[in-house]
Symmetry: C2
Subunit: 472 residues, 2 copies
Amino acid sequence: MEYLKVSQVLKEKPIGKEVTVKGWLRSVRKSKAFSFLVINDGSSQGTLQIIVDANSIDNYEKVSSLLNGACVRVDGLIVESGGKGQDVEMQGRIVEIYGETDDSFPLQKKATSLEFLREQAHLRPRTNLFGAVFRIRHQMAMATHNFFNDRGFYYLNSPILTAVDAEGAGEMFQVTNLDMNNLPKNDKGQVDYTTDYFGKETNLCVTGQLEGECFAMGMGSVYTFGPTFRAENSNTPRHLSEFWMIEPEVAFMDLDGNAKLAQDYIQYLIRYTMEKAPAELEAIDKYLAFSAKSNKEKFESHLPILEKVRDTKFEQVTYTDAIDILNKSGHKFEFKPEWGVELQTEHERFLSEIHFKGPVTVTDYPRDCKAFYMKQNDDGKTVRAMDVLVPGVGEIIGGSQREEDLGKLQTRIKEMGMSEDPLWWYMELRKFGTAPHSGFGLGFERAIRYVTGMNNIRDVIPFPRTPKSCDF
Amino acid sequence: MEYLKVSQVLKEKPIGKEVTVKGWLRSVRKSKAFSFLVINDGSSQGTLQIIVDANSIDNYEKVSSLLNGACVRVDGLIVESGGKGQDVEMQGRIVEIYGETDDSFPLQKKATSLEFLREQAHLRPRTNLFGAVFRIRHQMAMATHNFFNDRGFYYLNSPILTAVDAEGAGEMFQVTNLDMNNLPKNDKGQVDYTTDYFGKETNLCVTGQLEGECFAMGMGSVYTFGPTFRAENSNTPRHLSEFWMIEPEVAFMDLDGNAKLAQDYIQYLIRYTMEKAPAELEAIDKYLAFSAKSNKEKFESHLPILEKVRDTKFEQVTYTDAIDILNKSGHKFEFKPEWGVELQTEHERFLSEIHFKGPVTVTDYPRDCKAFYMKQNDDGKTVRAMDVLVPGVGEIIGGSQREEDLGKLQTRIKEMGMSEDPLWWYMELRKFGTAPHSGFGLGFERAIRYVTGMNNIRDVIPFPRTPKSCDF
């Protein structure tokens, strides 16, 4: 008998055909004469209802007493369904029980909070909500690869282990193979890293950009898509210690090209997800509406905003003009907008939500707000940086044209009190056949959070890592 | 004027059209009246020849004196080429020099060894050989996502930071945020990890399998594709400390299904790469032939073997029968094949190259050779493990059906002297709605090495990490 996934049964509707399905019980309604089993196998948002007749299966007592979460194989006949919201159902003939469950099954409880489910991250994929989130995550990953591949970009696996602090940000995790309880010391009483695995201090990457530049300056257009790490002590719904990032880097592209690429990518991500996972987006929206109602909170679906971002040309404004707009707006901000200081989220949201009423790219930030590698403008004050702001969250993408002039880069590094030595290879990209180039970074989980509407970033990554939390 | 990538010019052949191209000089042939510039922009293996006429460009002296590696923009007319091996060439009108280079450019030298180029990993993408390798790497990554996506698998980002030693192998990197020169100690004088970032000892993952099982047991079919780490002190052409792995995990799939999936995947990888990157495979093959000739070594192209693996049904044999075959072969092995001991590479290669003359999947290995999670056979001696062996390297894939019976798994964990405690969540997959499931792992770089024919695994990853080596 042919084994079909539930998604195939729902799509192909093989009415009159005997098939096999396998999955986990989402609900069981039992009566003396017959019972309804509802199963899901993760292949889609959909479930299949199976009717088992007490007279036609051997193990009826056992089957009809199964609890939610039990796993079964069912052979049966697909028939047209009289039920609401379903075209087909199955008349079960043989039910094999793969695995039962018992009262201690954590997902039995009707109301399971997101906080509680984070402690049960190994079982989250079995829920309606998280099935939807992680299928969307998959679609957004596929969208990413398709988008860049279609445009002739090459996928680059930048290194995870690194001896370079690319952002100069400090907040890095250290990686070692030394016996922590018996550390070798040098003459000065400091840890002697010469005997460590790599012979020196090594960290987890915070970005793949610098290595991305190496590859862009040879292969033209590349993108990374891999894990990055921040050892910040930030316990917020927007921060993870381990998160995935997408970083395109393109030779011969200036900041305008960069802004265009960012717009095209974001819009593609939204369009692709809406096409491939409409049922998932709807299921999450329903959950969020229900959840808001339970908490007596106002609910407004984010889906219309998504559609707007998908369909609207992004505005573009310089940082200097943006500060001007904010100051002339008459709006009362917690932090007063001031030239020379990074925009706050409240400023970003005002710009995209109130002023531009749509996505907007802010360019040419003050030099002192930004990293050493950004291309310096002739005004001596600003750099060719850009942040893409979208309604609902504010900044979603940050990027820049890179400084391709060796001398200017060297001067800037000196000014910032950094050392050129660990960056000798990065400098050589400017020494040997330099060229204009640009790129940006998108935090994958932040993008998923935006597209799904999920509030907490811990709920859009399979196993979240945050301060004091590294379970599973 | 329209900017075209070199790959577009070569493919579209826009004869009679004025276009812009940008790229790095691969060679310059200078004469008084005109010069030939050959450029590549990384978009493909191909190069474009540009003729510049001393009388028709302003900066002829400068342009014709450029060295290999310099970066230029050229506006010009695409014309039919009289030259051998090229359909079109360009008559340059305007040459803008983005970046010159000088005699210290490391790639100037005619003979640049692979060892030397590893020290110049930031410039490797500019070479003919590594452009080919990394474009193939990209195609194999795309092939992987397409293969699994087409079959309804969901991409899973399993965690990189973990507190679990999944393989019980020990050789893990430790991750910490503590000040190594001032470690907090507990009463017993040991490091006090309660103040570390995650509040406990944390490592880099060696596999995503256990988390893959969590997701397979809810979403049905999933695959990981991410970095994994081994702190082994192995300095060989086959080992990396940081490498990417692909691990599919499928609910309701048994070992035969697993073997079939592995065959389909390997064959798809080869077919896709041969279709998408024939010029790259040819370029590498030429390099390897040239290199062998220079070293007065015999050269045999690996491409016919690849084609055979792509087109041949994989044989299947049990470990027990394989040992029998080896012992009856009369072949003299360095290590005598013996039941209960893992197969050596020489055994694996004999099986696939000499005996089966093609790919072969060996199943049902002795229990004591394998990890705790493999499904136990009724004979009490073997487990439902499988290794896929291919001519040329031996093992390329390892996998198994997983033990889905809670009691058997608990017994095995106890027998092996392991603790269940850190695996409570893994055990719960068996307690709540367990089901048969299987999966395997493929080392991405080992696969790239196999498909490209490159000898050293350090030459198929952008920035290799090996003992005492973590540069760039």
